[in-house]
Amino acid sequence: MSIAITTQFICFTVLSLVVIIGALGVVLLESIVYSAFLLGGVFMSVAGLYLLLNASFVAAAQVLVYVGAVNVLIIFAIMLVNKKEDLKPINDIKSRRVISTSICLTLLSLLIRVDLTNVWSLSSPQNSIGEESTIRIGEHLFSDYLLPFEVASVLLLMAMIGAIVLARRDVMTKDISTGLPVDQELIEKSPEPLLTNKN
């Protein structure tokens, strides 16, 4: 093995360990804030894996969109809804845990079996395209993937408007179609504001 391959192996091992351990931390840690920051680490390591696959554009997009937007959004949501609350105990939590863990392990073994036993039709020179991939992505986006590209912009606009409408504070007091007053018990449970003054 040449030194370049060895370096690739070391990078891959470190990155995949960070991904797996970080993901375990995201789902297992008690504090949701630690989970959110570990999630950022997982996203960064996934971007590193993309760099190992010679995809610098997608790695940059991953860092910008996931770490820069999604993770920050999650941290803001935690900041808005973070309230210490004593969760009600569930009486059959043990059996639920056992069932879900066994389902996940079965699925994992199935997937790994498929990964290892299937014969993939690999193309002979791997990663031959290299740094040209950004140009190829641009050609794809403006030729054969033009319609999904345009639909994605409409989707983003819809998501933006939908998020604004859903997160607005004012609620309607009258039903639009019937004109009857809306059952406020269902809509607004608490009159207290979201950001309460602690001191």
Binding site: I20, L53, A55, S100, L141, Y145
Partner: protein, 106 residues
């Protein structure tokens, strides 16, 4: 062991493990924010899979990378709408406990 590069199976196993961790978190989390984070983990696992295949199987027409771009777009939209739904749920129920969101329970 004489390998020319990292085998494709290594990427596939990492993404399988990440996907299963995401499913476990989705099924077992009480906090709704953590459920959203688990969904993001699963989407990332799918992205790793697509990227690995586009690099190892289809390395001239890198369609997997284009698909990954689209998945990232949809994931960003999903996160925004999901967190808006979460905020409005929190406003109505004053909790983020998944067990208390049972209005549609049969």
């Amino acid at each position: 062991m004489n390998l020319e590069s990292i085998p494709l199976q290594a990427f596939l196993i990492v993404s399988s493990a990440l996907f299963c961790i995401g499913i476990w978190g989705l099924l077992n989390s009480r906090n709704a924010v953590r459920v959203l984070m688990s969904i993001e983990l699963m989407l990332n696992a799918v992205n790793i899979n697509l990227m690995a295949f586009s690099s190892y199987v289809d390395n001239n027409l890198i369609q997997g990378q284009v698909f990954t771009i689209f998945v990232i777009t949809v994931a960003a939209a999903e996160a925004a709408v999901g967190l808006a739904i979460l905020l409005s749920l929190y406003r109505n129920r004053v909790t983020v406990d998944m067990e208390s969101f049972n209005l549609l329970k049969w």
